[in-house]
Chain length 216, copies 2
Amino acid sequence: MARTTGSDGEKTEAAVREAAVNLIARLGYEAMSMRKLAAEVGVQAAALYRYFPTKEDLLFTLMREHMEGLIEAWNAARPVVADPATRLAAYVENHIAFHIERRHSTHVSNMELRSLSHDRLTQILRMRTIYEKELRAILRDGAEVGDFSVEDTGLTAMALIQMMTGVIVWFRPGERLSISEVTATYLSMTMRLVGAKAHGATTTYSARRAKDAVAL
Amino acid sequence: MARTTGSDGEKTEAAVREAAVNLIARLGYEAMSMRKLAAEVGVQAAALYRYFPTKEDLLFTLMREHMEGLIEAWNAARPVVADPATRLAAYVENHIAFHIERRHSTHVSNMELRSLSHDRLTQILRMRTIYEKELRAILRDGAEVGDFSVEDTGLTAMALIQMMTGVIVWFRPGERLSISEVTATYLSMTMRLVGAKAHGATTTYSARRAKDAVAL
DNA sequence: GAATTAATTGAACGTTCGTTTTATTATTTG
DNA sequence: CAAATAATAAAACGAACGTTCAATTAATTC
């Protein structure tokens, strides 16, 4: 056998990516063999090498696109002119929405870093740093203005990101809590954690953010 | 060749455990081969099977002992009679101290769960639940008494644990912050996050806890 | 000091791994 | 409709995997 009827490179590549994210998230990168991946797609292992030169290239591509997507999502969601509390609320909402929506690729991007070569690891970590710096800047601004009481900006940023990203470990859509309930709770926990002064309940920040979005 | 001079079963087994924790933390369970492990210990791969019948048995043993150690540490550190804020402070301090001290085995126990058989996974998760229930109980008590303002006990417990355990991702001993500085900061973040009423700075909780420890 | 037990080696087993090569067929282009 | 190209299958490569087995030597027991 050779080329199959109806075969299409673009569709196959997309199917490979999707299957790879799911399989790596479930089995881990090392435990996902190219043969299992091929079987999931409905193809022979050799066919995968038309789209990704090596297994590591495939992993790296998935991770890079995940990180790019995260940064793009934040760039689209960030309020350009706003007080620190509003910016922080936007960051939290975007972060949680993105990570719940892309649970599997988040899992891959966070757990399989050790399987990357040094250079590629550096690239991914650089993107991660760019994204995290945004949160540190918000916390710093808020602390300088006096809206937040944060002892250590870097430590607080790491703590918040770990807390928020951790949502993918236990959250399952369609169970006890809805995405918006989870987001609202995390938002109020965040605001208390950073000692946000404007303590006007959760809706305050959401409302302000909505107003800002209209204002742009 | 056969038995080597000075060989000792107990010492070899201990060396295997230690090397396994380090290697699995660094390479991942799947990527750590029995041959690599044996080489690290300075022994042939076949010798490992005197101590652990399978690779998975080795992993499970490491995880079980980690979880047992965590629960024992908490049982030793918990204040028997104390207000919720003091109990929460003890929980946070114990959790962070334990996880920083056992970074590698924490990594293994959290990241390699998917390599366990169903039954063994259940056993580990059961132990984890026991430990997490302790935190939920503290949060519930604090909320009932009115010392904490917590919207959702279960969600808050998960958020706190993710936040605290995340310390092992970025913390490196001997860098910018000391363990006690990190612990103090996490403690005050936790207290703010749960809306603890008695807002008498970080030292308040530490002092109370010390007093309790003496009282026992 | 002989018999027993403890600890380990070295070789081998069958499987699976990532990857390459070659042949073959479907589709598109001219 | 022929030529070119795109997409795949089938088979094979050497290497590494977890694990087993028999042989061998060190330490202990009687």
